[in-house]
C-alpha cells in the first residue's frame, strides 16, 4: 500500500470580492504531495500560484477573500484553522520561502535575531544554542563567514544572500514540507543554480517534501518529480515531470514547453503563446484557455474536467487522436 500523501489539496478555491465582481484567483485546485516528493507548480504570472499556497497556511488576510476546499496536511485539515492553531505548523512543520527576498525580512533586526526568533518559537532552545544553530544554518545555505554575518542587517546582504537567509529560516526547524514561491526568480542564473542545488541537498538531508512554484520550465526539469500546470487559477495538467516534458497533453503546456529555448531548436525565434494572460475577473464560461488556443472547438464553451489515467490528467476536450496529429505537425514543421 502506498504511503498516505503528506499534503492533499482538494478543490481549493480562493475568490476575492472586488468592485468589478468576484475574482477567482484559484479555482478548483487539487493535487497531492507525497513523502519526499518534489512537486512543481508552473503557470504564467497572475495564474494564482502564490495565492493558492498562501491560502493554505492562512496567509491570505484580505477581508474580501473567500477560501473554500480542503487542505489535508499529515491527514489533518488545516484550512480554516485559527492563527493560534496554525502557529506550530507555520514555520514548524511547513517552511515557506517567498517570492521576493528583498522585502521578506524585517529591516530593523539582524538576520541572526530573526532566525533565532523562529528557532526559539518552535524548538524551545536556549538563546545561545539557538544562535549556534542560526550560525550553522547560515553556513549550510552557503553564506560565507556566518559567524560575523549573523549579526548583520538584511540591507547589508545582496538579494541572493537574503534569499539564502530566507531559505535558512524556512529550513531552521526541519519542516516536513517546504513551500518555495519562485525562490530563484529574483536572482541571476548562477545564484539560481546554487540555490536550487542547495534545496535539493537539504531535501535529501532532511527527507522533506517540496512544493516549488516557478514559471521556469528549466527549474521544473531540474527539480520536480511531478508538475501541476496552472492556467487562470485552474489546474490544466498534472503529470510526472518526464511525462509532462515528453508527452505534454494540454495545448497550454505545449505552449509553455515551446517557449523554452532549446539547444537543438531549428528556428531562431522562440515560439510564444499568442495573446495575453486572461484576467481572472472575466473568464470565459468554458475552458479558460480557449481564447488563446489554436485548436479551439465548439465543445470548449463548456469547462473540460481534469481527466486521464491516474498519473497524468489534463483538462482539454481534444481527443487522443487529435493530439497525436497536432503534435506530429508541430514537431516536424514543413
Amino acid at each position: 500500500m502506498p504511503e498516505a500523501p503528506l499534503l492533499q489539496v482538494r478543490d481549493l478555491t480562493v475568490s476575492f470580492a472586488t468592485r468589478q465582481g468576484a475574482l477567482r484567483a484559484v479555482d478548483g485546485l487539487s493535487f497531492d504531495v507525497g513523502q519526499k516528493e518534489i512537486v512543481g507548480i508552473v503557470g504564467e504570472s497572475g495564474s494564482g500560484k502564490s495565492v493558492a499556497i498562501y491560502s493554505m497556511l492562512g496567509l491570505v488576510r484580505e477581508k474580501n477573500a473567500t477560501i473554500t476546499g480542503s487542505v489535508l496536511f499529515e491527514g489533518r485539515e488545516i484550512l480554516g484553522l485559527s492563527d493560534k492553531e496554525l502557529q506550530p505548523i507555520r514555520g514548524g512543520s511547513i517552511g515557506m520561502i517567498f517570492q521576493d527576498p528583498m522585502t521578506a525580512l524585517t529591516p530593523v533586526y539582524t538576520v541572526g535575531w530573526q532566525l533565532v526568533e523562529q528557532i526559539r518559537q518552535h524548538l524551545h532552545l536556549p538563546k545561545a544554542a539557538a544562535r549556534q544553530r542560526a550560525i550553522e544554518l547560515l553556513g549550510q545555505v552557503g553564506i560565507p563567514d556566518p559567524k560575523s554575518r549573523v549579526d548583520r542587517y538584511p540591507h547589508e546582504f545582496s538579494g541572493g544572500m537574503r534569499q539564502r537567509v530566507v531559505i535558512a529560516m524556512a529550513l531552521s526547524c526541519n519542516p516536513r514540507l517546504l513551500i518555495a514561491d519562485e525562490p530563484t526568480t529574483a536572482l541571476d542564473v548562477t545564484t539560481q543554480a546554487q540555490i536550487l542545488d542547495l534545496m535539493l541537498k537539504l531535501q535529501d538531508t532532511y527527507d522533506s517534501s517540496i512544493v516549488i512554484i516557478t514559471h521556469d520550465m528549466g527549474v521544473i526539469a531540474e527539480m520536480a518529480h511531478r508538475v501541476v500546470v496552472m492556467y487562470a487559477g485552474r489546474p490544466v495538467e498534472i503529470a510526472r515531470e518526464l511525462d509532462l516534458v515528453r508527452h505534454p497533453r494540454h495545448p497550454y503546456t505545449w505552449g509553455l514547453l515551446d517557449a523554452v529555448p532549446r539547444l537543438d531548436a531549428k528556428h531562431d525565434r522562440l515560439r510564444t503563446i499568442r495573446g495575453n494572460a486572461v484576467s481572472p475577473l472575466n473568464l470565459p464560461p468554458g475552458c479558460a484557455f480557449a481564447p488563446r488556443c489554436d485548436y479551439v472547438m465548439d465543445q470548449c464553451a463548456q469547462r473540460p474536467p481534469l481527466q486521464g489515467d491516474a498519473d497524468h490528467v489534463d483538462a482539454c476536450w481534444l481527443s487522443d487522436a487529435q493530439r497525436v496529429t497536432i503534435r506530429q505537425r508541430v514537431e516536424q514543421p514543413s
Binding site: 496567509l59 492563527d83 496554525l86 502557529q87 514555520g91 515557506m96 521578506a104 529591516p107 542587517y153
Partner: protein
C-alpha cells in the same frame, strides 16, 4: 553608532552657527534699516541710540558686529532690553524655559502614550467598531483649537464646577517643581491634557495608518509564516518598524513646541513660558528679547532634531551607514 552620534552633533553645532549668522544678518544687516533704532525701540533718544551703536559696534565691520552680539548673548549674557530698561534678556529666557519644558515634556509623555495606544488598538481591530471610534475621537481632538479647549477647561475647572468636583484645581499660573512637586503637577495637569489632546489625535491617526501599511508588508507575512503569535507580529515587527516615522514626527513637534509653539496653551493657562515671552516681546518690539527667543528656539529645534536622528539611527539600522 558612536561615530554616527558624534558626527550628528557636530553637524548640529554647525547648523546652530549657521542659524545664528542668519539671525544676526536679518536683525543687523537688513538693508535700509537702522539696527540701532530697532534695538533701542520706539521713540529712543539720540543718546540711547549712540549708546546702542557703541555697544554693538554698529560702525565696525560685520564679523566684529556678529562677534559682539554673540558675546552679549552667550558669554557676558548682559544683553539688555531697551523697552523695559535694564532688564536682562538671558535671565528672562532661563526663567521661562523650565516652564515651557515642564509643559511640553509632560504633554509629550501623555500624547505619546495615548497616541501609540490609540493607534495600536485601532490598527489591531481594523474593521471592528473600536477602530473608527478611536479614529473619530482622534480627528475631533485634532480639529479642536487648543486655546478653545483650554478656555473650556478653564471654564469648567475654574468657575462652573470649581466649587464641586474641581475644587482641587489650583488657579491658573505656575509653581516650580522645586517649590512643590504636587502643586507643580496640579498646576500643569490641565495644560498638559489640553496640549496633548491635539497631538495624541494626530499621532494615533498617523500610527494607525503606518501600522496598517506595515501589516501588509511582506516581512509581516514572513513573520506569520514563521509561526509567531499575532501579538508578537504586531508589536515586535509591525509596531517596531512604524515607530521610525513616529519618532521623526515627534522630533519636529517637540522641538517646535519647546521653541515657543506652545504659546496658545501658555497664554490660556497663564504660564509665563518662552512662548509667552516671545509673544510679549513681539508686541513691544523688544528686539533683543526677540532675538534671544529666536536663538533659544533654534537651539532646541536643532537639538531635538539631532536627538531624533540618533534615535532614528538606533531604530533603523539602514540609516546608520548613510
Amino acid at each position: 553608532m558612536i561615530y554616527f552620534i558624534v558626527r550628528r552633533f557636530a553637524s548640529a553645532v554647525l547648523v546652530l552657527f549657521a542659524i545664528s549668522v542668519s539671525v544676526f544678518l536679518i536683525f543687523f544687516a537688513t538693508p535700509g534699516v537702522d539696527p540701532a533704532a530697532r534695538i533701542a525701540g520706539r521713540s529712543a533718544s539720540a543718546q540711547v541710540l549712540a549708546h546702542v551703536a557703541r555697544e554693538f559696534g554698529l560702525n565696525r565691520p560685520l564679523p566684529i558686529r556678529y562677534w559682539l552680539m554673540m558675546e552679549h548673548l552667550f558669554i557676558k549674557q548682559d544683553l539688555t532690553s531697551y523697552v523695559n530698561i535694564g532688564v536682562r534678556v538671558v535671565p528672562q529666557i532661563t526663567q521661562a524655559a523650565p516652564i515651557t519644558l515642564s509643559l511640553v515634556i509632560g504633554a509629550a509623555v501623555i500624547w505619546m502614550i495615548v497616541g501609540v495606544l490609540g493607534g495600536v488598538v485601532a490598527a489591531a481591530n481594523q474593521g471592528k467598531f473600536i477602530d473608527p471610534f478611536i479614529m473619530f475621537i482622534g480627528i475631533a481632538a485634532v480639529s479642536v483649537p487648543a486655546y478653545w479647549l483650554g478656555e473650556v477647561m478653564n471654564l469648567l475647572t475654574q468657575s462652573k464646577f470649581h466649587s464641586s468636583i474641581f475644587a482641587w484645581v489650583p488657579p491658573p499660573g505656575y509653581v516650580s517643581f522645586t517649590t512643590s512637586p504636587s502643586e507643580w503637577f496640579l498646576h500643569l495637569l490641565f495644560p498638559w491634557l489640553t496640549l496633548a489632546a491635539l497631538y495624541a489625535g494626530i499621532y494615533a491617526r498617523v500610527l494607525r495608518a503606518e501600522l496598517v501599511n506595515a501589516l501588509n508588508e511582506d516581512y509581516v507575512r514572513t513573520a506569520r509564516a514563521k509561526g509567531l503569535s499575532e501579538r508578537r507580529i504586531l508589536f515586535r515587527h509591525a509596531l517596531r518598524c512604524s515607530l521610525i516615522s513616529i519618532v521623526s514626527l515627534f522630533g519636529l513637534d517637540f522641538g517646535a513646541l519647546i521653541g515657543g509653539a506652545a504659546l496658545l496653551t501658555e497664554v490660556v493657562f497663564g504660564l509665563p513660558g518662552v512662548g509667552m515671552l516671545t509673544y510679549t516681546s513681539l508686541q513691544n518690539l523688544d528686539l533683543p528679547v526677540i532675538m534671544g527667543c529666536v536663538m533659544y528656539g533654534a537651539f532646541f529645534v536643532v537639538l531635538a532634531n539631532a536627538v531624533v536622528d540618533v534615535l532614528y539611527a538606533y531604530l533603523d539600522p539602514r540609516v546608520r551607514l548613510a
